[in-house]
């Protein structure tokens, strides 16, 4: 996209964010009654849904059962209407298979699979709207869904993407920034220990800049962790500090926004803003 300035002189990105700023994240757990665990997340305009079934008996051939741990099975699917150009197949193509394998790798590092030998845990992720950072949104949604299902994990798995433009590292890339062709790094982190579950980078980046980009992604993932932690606490244990979520009048898809009174909005203000009805 020639002529599109990804980072202005004053340090603002295309959508008005600063370099290290995340998009608005809203999430909700327990959206489906029939699945063991489910969650929905919106990161800016990227919307992802994750559903977990398990642990249950291995479906299909018993030979795949592992004697000492559970099998984690992931499927990544993105709706045909999720991208600007209509996709022909929601899943089964190479990119979806690769994403599924990456998700599997990520969650095998986090889930305590030794507690459920000879069984299977299914994680199905569906992207409803793709506006950049789909892998990160999927991992975050899947974390919440696994927690909703009650499957024990070592830690949260928080993911974020990062890029590099004009000597500055950008966190949480949108579709416009991804399409510009610069280097993109996807990072999935276990926040308490700082361990990396998955690290992936496309395109060329000089090694001098790598540390800067990695740090930006790690910091963003830690920020995501704070938000996800809050969502989980509100879901499980409403208290005066984490007020009870009330259902909004605009249908079930819009996640419940905590009605935090203005003086409590302190540090979380940029991320949890009171939502006004979308009248245009």
């Amino acid at each position: 996209m020639a002529g599109l300035e990804l980072l202005s002189d004053q340090g603002y990105r295309v959508d008005g964010r600063r370099a290290g700023e995340l998009r608005k994240i809203q999430a909700r757990m327990g959206v489906f009654a029939q699945a063991d665990g489910s969650a929905y997340i919106e990161q800016g305009n990227t919307k992802a849904l994750a559903v977990v079934y398990g642990p249950h008996e291995i479906r299909g051939s018993r030979a795949r059962a592992l004697p000492d741990r559970a099998l984690v099975n992931c499927q990544y699917s993105s709706a045909t209407f999720s991208t600007g150009e209509r996709k022909r197949r929601p899943h089964g193509d190479r990119k979806s298979c690769e994403m599924g394998l990456q998700l599997r790798q990520t969650f095998e590092a986090a889930i305590l699979t030794q507690l459920h030998p000879r069984s299977q845990i299914d994680i199905y992720v569906q992207v409803l709207q793709a506006d950049g950072g789909t892998y990160a949104a999927c991992v975050n949604a899947a974390t919440l869904a696994v927690l909703d299902a009650g499957i024990p994990m070592r830690d949260f798995v928080c993911a974020c993407s990062a890029g590099f433009v004009d000597g500055t590292a950008l966190a949480d890339l949108s579709h416009v920034e991804e399409a510009a062709g610069g280097p993109q790094l996807a990072l999935a982190l276990l926040p308490a220990s700082g361990q990396i579950a998955l690290l992936e980078m496309d395109a060329r980046l000089h090694e001098d800049h790598l540390e800067q980009v990695l740090e930006a992604a790690a910091q963003a993932a830690q920020d995501v962790h704070i938000l996800l932690d809050r969502v989980v606490r509100q879901h499980i244990w409403p208290s005066p500090d984490y007020p009870l979520l009330q259902s909004g009048p605009w249908g079930c898809f819009s996640p419940n926004i905590p009605r935090v009174s203005w003086h409590r909005q302190g540090w979380y203000a940029p991320h949890f803003m009171l939502r006004t009805p979308q009248l245009q």
Partner: protein, 323 residues
């Protein structure tokens, strides 16, 4: 089809209840569950809708793209349907497991729209034989609790109502080459008229009676079902029997009796003031309001938790199967 394993005792329980016009969740044989319809949920699309019928959850996105008209109908655009039964609904749908059901539903949708009156395809034509609008209607099945066809037909109707197709002009050059120009105003668009878009009513035969809007457990007890696709004017566009059992000819006519007074209501509703129901059809009992025509504005009010809530929110629009 996603199914649930029921024991014999449970099946007998359900069948005996249905004989007495009493279903497991307290409904009568001809009562629908609460329906929630929400439009404009996905912003990348030209139109979208989400329908929740009990625990059945459907998301439909419509994308309008330019293409060539079909050879036998050079003055019309067309609709393409694709149904994705996602693994969210049940692990059996993982990989290619949901393809069979998806194809069956897509074929049914093609059949019910395969007539001149459902959607005015001439409005989708840009220039004859060269350009037309193709509407790709993509259905995503998120959760399945029985009665898929009904929910999908409502969702498709709502999504088509919500679809906004940009207005284009064809400019002719001196050499004769044509250029297509999109209007600058993002709100300048064509809306489709969905008055004649049919909705499907599925009637499942359980024992000697038929039920409307069966849950997954009730579908497991029924051997045969009748799918009727009907518009608000009472025009039947498709009739299909599904299931491994067989139906008596008399019972088919009995089932069709249920249909006329659904349509009779729409006639009643049309006369009443608050009822400008752009969907033009009340599905079973509960009318679905789309409150505003402005693009991306209000979503429909959810009719979620039962009748009391419903009355408060929608202002008293609660109709039961009065006989």
């Amino acid at each position: 089809m996603a199914s649930v394993a029921l024991s014999e005792a449970e099946k007998v329980y359900i069948m005996h209840g249905v004989q007495e016009d009493l279903r497991v969740d307290g409904r009568g044989c001809e009562d629908y569950r609460c329906v929630e319809v929400e439009t404009d949920v996905v912003s990348n699309t030209s139109g979208s809708a989400r329908v929740k019928l009990g625990h059945t959850d459907i998301l439909v996105g419509v994308k309008a793209e330019m293409g060539m008209p079909k050879l036998e109908k050079p003055n019309e655009g067309y609709l393409e349907f694709f149904v994705d039964c996602s693994a969210n609904a049940t692990p059996e749908f993982e990989g290619r497991g949901g393809d069979d059901l998806g194809t069956e539903i897509a074929n049914t949708l093609y059949r019910i729209f395969n007539n001149k009156s459902s959607v005015d395809l001439k409005t989708l034509c840009i220039s004859a034989r060269e350009h037309c609008w193709v509407l790709y209607v993509d259905v995503l099945l998120l959760e399945c609790d029985g009665n898929l066809f009904d929910a999908i037909s409502i969702a498709v109707k709502a999504a088509l109502f919500n679809t906004r197709i940009p207005r284009v002009r064809v400019l002719e050059d001196e050499e004769g080459s044509k250029d297509i120009e999109l209007s600058d105003d993002p709100y300048d668009c064509i809306r489709l008229s969905v008055e004649n878009v049919p909705c499907i009513v599925t009637l499942c035969k359980i024992g000697y009676r038929h039920v409307v809007d069966a849950t997954l457990q009730e579908e497991a007890c029924s051997l045969a079902s009748l799918l009727v696709s009907v518009t608000s004017k009472g025009v039947v566009t498709c009739l299909r029997k599904v299931g491994k059992g067989s139906l008596d000819p008399e019972s088919i006519f009995e089932m069709m009796e249920v249909r006329p007074w659904f349509c009779g209501w729409c006639g009643d509703l049309a006369g009443t003031p608050a009822a400008s129901c752009p969907l033009g059809y009340t599905v079973g009992i509960l009318p679905i309001h789309i409150l505003d025509f402005k693009p991306g504005a209000w979503r429909t009010v959810g009719l979620s938790q039962g009748s009391a809530d419903l009355t408060r929110r929608v202002g008293g629009w609660r109709l039961w199967t009065g006989r």
